[in-house]
């Protein structure tokens, strides 16, 4: 008799909870998904396909579905993977083949050797961000400020006239380096000749005399 009561009580409880959950499933039904946009915003939008997906958005969707790792984006580098790990609460993994964290791939831009271009428009079709201009049988050229350096135009070119070159550093893109932390003792530090990088700090040495 007692076992029957026990079963009845548990069954009643299960029924009640089941009904509540069933109602909640309808009430809180999720339409669409809101994370993909945030993931996509972190990706560098080179649309290069190096992750194995056809662009940044499909890759973002794959990440959110849990089908892709977060470290497949070489242009985003370890920095990007770190941001993704932060956003999604996943474990950070260095970008495959990126070596150690400091080695960041320099920014590249495509250059068309214009004398050799035959005007086939194949690179224009390959460029995911419309950064190449030209018309059929006219010379093509790359708008360097729009080029994301994805290299997708290099392969289609039948005459191999597209080079990837690194973007040189200018006053506008230059930035201060991470301050060097001297590990040497004070005594040895005085023997080291001044170099420009370490000399920009004049405040603390000024104080010593002032």
């Amino acid at each position: 008799m007692e076992i029957l009561i026990a079963i009845a009580v548990m069954a009643l409880g299960a029924l009640t909870l089941g009904a509540a959950l069933g109602y909640a499933a309808i009430r809180f039904k999720v339409e669409g998904d809101l994370i993909t946009g945030k993931v996509e915003a972190i990706l560098p939008q080179t649309q290069c396909g190096q992750c194995g997906f056809a662009g940044c958005k499909p890759y973002a969707e794959a990440i959110v579905r849990g089908e892709a790792e977060i470290n497949l984006c070489p242009p985003g580098g370890d920095e990007g993977a770190k941001k993704l790990a932060d956003l999604l609460g996943r474990e950070f993994k260095p970008v495959s083949g990126g070596g150690d964290g400091e080695a960041v791939k320099p920014r590249l831009t495509a250059i068309i050797r214009e004398a050799e271009c035959i005007g086939c428009t194949l690179c224009i079709q390959a460029c995911p961000v419309d950064a190449i201009v030209g018309a059929a049988r006219q010379m093509h050229t790359v708008i360097e400020t729009l080029c994301t350096g994805c290299e997708l135009c290099v392969k289609p070119c039948p005459v191999e006239c597209i080079d990837m070159v690194s973007v040189p550093e200018t006053l506008a893109t230059w930035k201060y380096a991470y301050p060097i932390i001297p590990i040497k003792s004070a005594e040895r530090a005085h023997d080291v000749p001044n170099n420009v990088g370490a000399m920009n700090d004049t405040q603390s040495s000024h104080r010593k005399v002032a």
């Binding site: 026990a6 299960a14 509540a20 959950l21 909640a24 809180f28 998904d33 609460g89």
Partner: protein
């Protein structure tokens, strides 16, 4: 006034994490970021308060009259599981990002020993309904407080020069230990 002491006691003196050492899984797991810790704290507070109330009702009006005290653990877990499921659905609807970040720890609230432990403590202490609710809410607040404090410390430690052998979980454990010692200092506050 005794309700007030009960609340203070649950939050600080008998802190569920640092003194009773319950609920350590999310405490270590989702304390890497302050924002996540807030989310987890809120979710746990909701579940824990609801669970204490529900389990009191089940215990007093279902199990005890039927003489089924031995089904306590089982029925509490089922109730908690349902509440957690409900919470997860609500979070998925309102904040998908939080759901993604909390990940596995959200369903794991089901097996969070704090969530089961607090209703059981309630019964062993013989608390009434209001007392149970206050104790449950207090424990949950204590959990959230400690989780947020710990996440704040971990964010800072993340930026520190931690010796290699201590990096990661090791320094987090040490931090948790020190925090636990600090919370021991609240003992005797409500007396």
């Amino acid at each position: 006034m005794s309700y007030f002491f009960l609340l203070i006691g649950a939050v600080f003196v008998n802190n569920v994490v640092l003194v009773k050492i319950l609920g350590l899984c999310p405490f270590m797991g989702v304390s890497k970021k302050l924002s996540t810790a807030y989310g987890m704290g809120a979710a746990t507070t909701f579940v824990l308060t609801l669970a204490t109330g529900a389990s009191f009702v089940i215990d007093h009006y279902l199990l005890i009259p039927a003489g089924l005290e031995y089904l306590r653990t089982l029925s509490f877990i089922v109730t908690i599981a349902a509440i957690v499921q409900l919470t997860e659905m609500a979070i998925a609807k309102t904040s998908p990002l939080l759901q993604q970040v909390l990940g596995i720890y959200l369903p794991l609230i089901t097996t969070n020993c704090a969530v089961l432990g607090v209703p059981l403590i309630n019964i062993s202490h013989g608390y009434g309904f209001v007392e149970s609710l206050i104790f449950g809410a207090g424990s949950a607040l204590g959990f959230s407080l400690v989780l947020a404090l710990f996440a704040g410390i971990r964010e800072r430690v993340e930026a520190a020069d931690v010796p290699l052998p201590f990096k990661g979980v090791a320094i987090a454990m040490i931090t948790a230990g020190l925090m636990s010692l600090a919370f021991m200092g609240f003992a005797g506050l409500d007396r």
